[in-house]
Symmetry: C2
Subunit: 226 residues, 2 copies
Amino acid sequence: MTISLNGHLLCYLKTRGKLSDMKKTNTIPGAARGPVDHEVRDQIVAAATAHFRLYGYEKTTVSDLAKAIGFSKAYIYKFFESKQAIGELICANCLGEIETVVKAAIDGTNRPPEKLRRMLKAAVESSLRLFFEDRKLYDIAASAATERWEAVRAYEEHMQAMLQDVLRQGRETEEFERKTPLDETATAIYLVMRPYLNPLLLQYNLDYTDDAPAQLSSLVLRSLSP
Amino acid sequence: MTISLNGHLLCYLKTRGKLSDMKKTNTIPGAARGPVDHEVRDQIVAAATAHFRLYGYEKTTVSDLAKAIGFSKAYIYKFFESKQAIGELICANCLGEIETVVKAAIDGTNRPPEKLRRMLKAAVESSLRLFFEDRKLYDIAASAATERWEAVRAYEEHMQAMLQDVLRQGRETEEFERKTPLDETATAIYLVMRPYLNPLLLQYNLDYTDDAPAQLSSLVLRSLSP
């Protein structure tokens, strides 16, 4: 990890509580500006989240946002390079919430096959919650997926890392086969899950979200049997 | 199959050579109008395909089309209820070509596991060909998938039927396990393949189309091992 990290990723990591040791950094290159830990940043993000939640992301300009949340446009630009920089942070927060739910679901059982089932189920359920209950924030995540924002890339990487962990544990307990290279297994299973984890793809799979998680988990577990 | 079938499906079946026994029907209810086997219909579809291929489907009106292909608008409406009715037939033709390629790939080998590999590979390759070489026609198929046209539903059903056939054969040769109910296996495998078979989803998976067919086939075959 270097200082040339994009600001939004930095903020993302910060909100995930992984950057306590980097707090001394005073200025951030790239999208996010100003002191990292300045609470005005958080205020802007909270106000922008509330605004986007009501009025949507695509149609709102930074001027609209400034007016609505009572900061000057120039002041917002002191902290964020663009509307997208704010959107990325909000998106990272939403995806971070999904990750937290998925992590809790995995940790809720000791058995690797059940961890795998719960992982997919929790990911789909919490993505759907975002989709149906917070549609306008979901749209930010879908934009992010279309434009390959760093927040979505980071999210996909974290989900893959969680999956690899579960697979490694299942190999240790001898519940999963070990002939296939771990990388190969993990990549293929991630491909199976991806249409339900990626916010952009999920909206085209809504007809399948009731049954697909269980059906796909069963198929994946059959493929993993020793 | 009853006479209340949508016209486009009727035409689709006709182009697939399955309706020779229904040719006596003189008028078609629904989207397609006029004598089924009137060669003007074919002329309109051929001319519309050429026109959409160059100028796209979404932006073209029936008036534009009439002007471009040298028929009066009224004359086109004698044969097709709407632009969508023409688009559906073109879409069905494109999807029919993919089906033909997939069928040939499956028939090219006797071994069910290899049939399964070739099925996914051929479907992805021929969908990509449509995507890259005939982008404007691909867009019709993507509209069709968004709006759930009958042609896409029929295509999905045909692919599922082909998949079930391969699975049945693999159970007969004892190369595939038989504990899991056939329906359950077929549905789950279809869910794995769907993001690469559905024209709407494929465009979001272009980064994966090189390796995914082989990786997913291997995972599916591991899940099928007796």
